[in-house]
């Protein structure tokens, strides 16, 4: 099985070439790695490569096919690129999708103020919603100028991480 994985600006093709017990031969693009890889616990991999011991935690992201991957203190956001992803991306590029014009909550919290309603004209950088989490209030701003098309939250609502709060068209 070959998978395309995206990390930052890089998209890499990964393919397993051989597996004997823990010893795995893998191609990452055109580079061949022979690693001793074993899953320890529910989310952690222990990888031995060239004698060095690496601990890699692979955690499912908040969206499907997204992973949050940690090696020591270094964290990567890795996404599986497949037909579905490509389809969504092509739609986004064609302007069919809301991405980039949504205001999402980066963390769970409580909506303390909604400053716009559908139909309002907003300017990029204008505060549209205020969320309180852990005794701290954060202001969220319109990502671009335009007209508010949706406000799926109300004051007093609790929101999850990554939840859409305002859409600007």
């Amino acid at each position: 099985m070959e998978l395309e994985l995206k990390v930052n600006d890089r998209t890499a093709k990964i393919r397993e070439l051989k597996r004997e017990g823990n010893i795995l031969t893998v191609a990452v693009d055109d580079k061949i790695f022979e690693v001793d890889l074993v899953k320890v616990g529910r989310r952690d991999y222990s990888v031995l490569y060239k004698g060095k011991s690496y601990n890699i935690g692979v955690i499912e992201g908040r969206e499907p096919k997204h992973y949050s991957v940690n090696t020591f203190y270094f964290g990567y956001d890795i996404e599986v690129v497949d037909a579905e992803t490509r389809y969504i991306e092509s739609r986004e590029q064609a302007g069919h999708h809301h991405a980039g014009s949504e205001v999402r909550s980066p963390m769970p919290g409580k909506v303390v103020k909604v400053l716009v309603k559908p139909g309002d004209a907003v300017e990029a950088g204008q505060t549209v919603v205020i969320v309180s989490a852990m005794k701290m209030e954060s202001e969220f701003k319109a990502p671009k100028s335009g007209v508010v098309s949706e406000v799926p939250v109300r004051e007093g609502d609790t929101v999850d991480g990554n939840q859409v709060m305002v859409v600007v068209d």
């Binding site: 998978l3 690693v35 890889l37 935690g57 499907p64 992973y67 020591f72 890795i78 980066p106």
Partner: protein, 508 residues
């Protein structure tokens, strides 16, 4: 040693401090009663306690700050005493008084002592009368702008304007330039008005490159008052302490002796009983001034416990039980060096935004010289309503340099997934030159922010290995889905659809 009066204690708090207090109670053979809000049914303090009672809705005002409800539970559960922890009702004179009225032992000072130290202006006056040095500035509340301008002219710039009823940085303004005086005054007063319902302020000389140094005191009801030496708390971000240590790297034995004596005098001036902290501000020349007294246990009390060898919560309970302190000043000594790091659920790379959420995995540090006081566990969802502090990591070693190395090792071992934390940021603090050399003041984080937020290095293979591990994780997940759909099932079109749905959501 059994207690005379206290057999059961209600802990009017949550989070790590509630658990920490219950640990000491358990060691003393004292029963514990937890209280919890709607948001805290699954919290560790509820699970750890012998008894647990629901007291209201998630917002603190409707639960952990509800004095009458908490007193009702104390009576229902037949608790002889209430420990308020820190925050919430711990410095609330009304609560202390209501406990007294109801015949419940409040594990903390009298309402009079809380009031005496709670109002900054009253406290300043009391300290001046007791001969404790205070920062040059007003001794009366300032209610008009003219008055404020006169005072500033007298003590000279820079000055700090503070809300008289304040705390936590609210209603505070630093004024360095003549032209900013009026606007800062107005801003401080309006913020004070909206935060505390009182726009009176006071004005103090602003100390450049200040050190925040505090002294722990313990006092029994028989007039015995001792101090347990200093804590250096200058690593702060927006007036929130981040790292504390003891001894202070800038302290000398002579100054320690003098400040300790003043700390004891300050406590005695309000007939203090229990554990308290005298906060001082100190400049680079070791001139120091009384800042305020915290009439409760501090978050950072464990570093004192480790270096002095005293369990402060046990001493609080013993004092409240009516016992005399088991030691005198000359029995107390500092041994080695302790550092505390506060672990916050926050996204340090995104303006330190709080990051509540569900803990998926946690590995806590262990071994020689490590103490980790926390309250979260795998599967626990940190609520959005309260403080973002997850835990406190405390290390001890013989010397300051060794303690820093140990803290680095402990932070390396500490893994929390599910929420973002300040662990990496704290590790950078341990590596910062100013911190390592012990020459830092309260501007340290601000001055070093770029360094502290920069990434640590990984070797050239990390990224590729991360990709390989992700590849395997994803591949096996897909294979697992394929196995779940048995051959007998996949023949039907509907199942392929089902498979497609499951692959699309990929939540097994």
């Amino acid at each position: 040693m059994e207690m005379k009066n206290i057999k059961k204690v209600l802990i009017a708090n949550r989070g790590e401090i509630a658990v920490r207090i219950m640990r000491s109670c358990r060691e003393m053979g004292i029963h514990t009663v937890a209280v919890f809000s709607d948001a805290d049914r699954t919290a560790l303090h509820v699970r750890y306690a012998g008894e647990a009672y629901h007291i209201g809705a998630a917002p603190s005002a409707e639960s952990y700050l509800n004095i009458e409800k908490i007193i009702e539970v104390a009576k229902l559960s037949k608790s002889e005493a209430i420990h308020p922890g820190y925050g919430f009702l711990s410095e609330n004179a009304t609560f202390s008084r209501r406990c007294r009225e109801e015949g419940i032992i409040f594990i903390g000072p009298s309402p009079e002592a809380i009031e005496g130290m709670g109002d900054k202006i009253t406290a300043r006056k009391t300290m001046i009368a007791a001969g404790v040095p205070v920062v040059p500035g007003t001794t009366e509340k300032v209610s008009t702008e003219d008055e404020a301008l006169n005072i500033i002219a007298e003590i000279g710039l820079p000055v700090m304007i503070k809300a008289s009823a304040g705390g936590g940085g609210k209603g505070m303004r630093l004024v360095k330039k003549e032209s900013d005086i009026v606007s800062s005054l107005r801003a401080a007063r309006s913020e004070a008005k909206s935060a505390f319902g009182d726009d009176s302020i006071y004005i103090e000389k602003y100390i450049e490159s200040p050190h925040h140094i505090e002294f722990q005191v313990l006092a029994d009801r028989f007039g015995n008052t001792v101090h347990l030496f200093e804590r250096e708390c200058s690593v702060q971000r927006r007036h929130q302490k981040v790292v504390e240590e003891t001894p202070s790297p800038v302290m000398t034995p002579e100054v320690r002796k003098i400040m300790g004596d003043y700390a004891v005098a300050a406590a005695k001036a309000v007939n203090y009983e229990g554990a308290g902290t005298i906060e001082f501000i100190m400049d680079d020349n070791l001139n120091f001034y009384f800042l305020e007294m915290n009439t409760r246990l501090q978050v950072e009390h464990p570093i004192t416990e480790r270096v002095v060898g005293v369990d402060l919560v046990k001493e609080q309970i013993r004092i409240a039980d009516g016992r005399a302190l088991p030691f005198r000043q000359e029995d107390l000594h500092q041994t080695g060096h302790a550092i505390e790091c506060r672990i916050y659920a926050e996204d340090t790379d995104n303006n330190f935004m709080p990051n509540p959420g569900t803990i998926t995995h946690i590995t806590e540090p262990h071994g020689l010289g490590i103490r980790c006081d926390g309250y979260v566990y795998p599967g626990y969802t940190i609520p959005i309503y309260y403080d973002p502090m997850i835990s406190k990591l405390i290390v001890w070693d013989k010397s300051r340099q060794e303690a820093i190395s140990r803290m680095k090792r402990a932070l390396y071992e500490y893994k929390i997934t599910g929420v973002k934390t300040s662990i990496k940021f704290l590790e950078r603090i341990m590596d910062a030159v100013e911190f390592r050399e012990g020459r830092y003041n309260t501007h340290f984080i601000e001055n070093n922010l770029k360094y502290l937020l920069s990434d640590t290095e990984c070797d050239m293979y990390c990224e590729d290995l991360a990709l390989i591990a992700t590849y395997i994780e994803h591949k096996e997940k897909i294979e697992k889905i394929e196995q779940t759909i048995s051959p007998a099932t996949v023949r039907h079109g509907s199942d392929w659809k089902h498979y497609g749905r499951r692959y699309g959501s990929l939540r097994l």
